[in-house]
């Protein structure tokens, strides 16, 4: 684990700090907070050594996570809708392009979550990172389930569904935390929260009613609401980033 995490850092960084960093990691049991912190540290090290992080200040460091998170949330929301509609209505065949699209959507949502959480965590770190964890786990399970599709492993569907549910419910919790922190516009958080609720309700209705076309269509509407929620949050994050850039402050 430690070796894998170290490999995320640039070689030049590892040459200078690798040994002592590994010693620090060896001193404690790494929890999810540590792993996430190390991932963000590795991204920073990559940028820092390329001269981006070195110039980062309050005008650039946080808006960068805001910009990246906003763009990824928009892309993730849009890709999620296209992929899910494709799978549910048109083509659920193993190995189809829809599953690749869903993998990309989940990765984009994960990046969006990380970026927007990093931006908000300045003010409410515990709340935000706690709210981050469930949808992040959901996105990872979705990725794992989708990646196992076609491998012959019978658990892939269970993992996939669990991931989708955790992503939807977790997005609702993330929306609540975003509303609470107020670091991003609350209207977007409200849209995402309501959209997640609608999506979850339609998922439950679909699960309990079989696969009639009407219920599946309702589920697609719910997923559409979920996607729109993330797109709205992403658009607002990008808008906030532009305001910050114009004002020169965060």
């Amino acid at each position: 684990m430690t070796r894998w995490l170290l490999r995320l850092y640039p070689a030049r960084w590892r040459d200078r700090y690798g040994d002592e960093f590994a010693a620090v990691l060896g001193e404690r049991t790494l929890g999810p907070f540590d792993v996430l912190d190390i991932l963000l540290g590795a991204i920073d090290a990559q940028l820092h050594l390329r001269g981006v992080g070195a110039r980062s200040d309050h005008r650039k460091g946080f808006p960068m996570s805001l910009r990246l998170g906003g763009a990824a949330a928009m892309a993730g929301g849009a890709l999620w809708l296209v992929a899910m509609t494709w799978i549910l209505l048109f083509d659920s065949n193993v190995g189809s392009g829809a599953w690749v699209l869903l993998l990309l959507a989940s990765v984009a949502l994960l990046v969006g979550l990380a970026g927007l959480s990093a931006f908000q965590a300045r003010q409410h770190p515990v709340l935000i990172w706690a709210a981050f964890s469930l949808p992040a786990i959901g996105a990872l399970l979705t990725i794992l389930g989708a990646a196992m599709n076609g491998s012959g492993n019978e658990y892939w569907w269970g993992l996939f569904i669990l991931g989708v549910v955790a992503t939807i419910v977790g997005s609702g919790l993330f929306a609540l935390a975003t509303w609470r922190s107020a670091a991003l516009p609350r209207s977007g958080a409200a849209v995402l929260g309501i959209a997640s609720l609608i999506s979850f309700a339609t998922f439950v209705a679909q699960s309990g009613s079989g696969d009639s076309n009407g219920v599946v269509a309702l589920f697609v509407v719910g997923l559409g609401a979920f996607s729109v929620g993330w797109i709205v949050v992403g658009v607002q994050a990008i808008g906030l980033d532009r305001q910050v850039a114009a004002a020169g402050t965060v």
Partner: protein
């Protein structure tokens, strides 16, 4: 009065200040800094954040690395670092005094 920050440290300004305060007691290696900061503030400092701040502090000449003991490398404040920390804490103290004074003035 603006809150004091280390120029160019961005989101690592606060962790950097906490590290400087920790090192004001004497040289420490990474893990000792983390535990010291955690016991002083009640909030954990992740290893990624610690080293992102250490890299910037060392690059700014505010701290310097000592020869490693086993794989642990201690760091210590430089003279410039001590002066910088003194200025930062003084400014923070003045800022806190101002806030408390205003609270007293507006208290019902």
């Amino acid at each position: 009065m603006p809150a004091p920050t280390s120029p160019g440290f961005g989101r690592f300004a606060e962790p950097a200040l906490l590290i400087l305060v920790s090192l004001s007691e004497g040289p420490k290696h990474g893990y000792a800094i983390m535990t010291d900061v955690e016991s002083g503030t009640g909030r954990p400092m992740g290893p990624g954040t610690l080293y992102a701040a250490l890299v910037r502090l060392e690059g700014s000449g505010l701290i310097e690395a000592l020869p490693p003991v086993d794989r642990r490398r201690p760091y210590r404040l430089t003279g410039v670092g001590a002066t910088h920390l003194q200025h930062q804490l003084t400014a923070l103290s003045s800022f806190a005094d101002l806030g408390l004074q205003r609270l007293r003035e507006t208290a019902p």
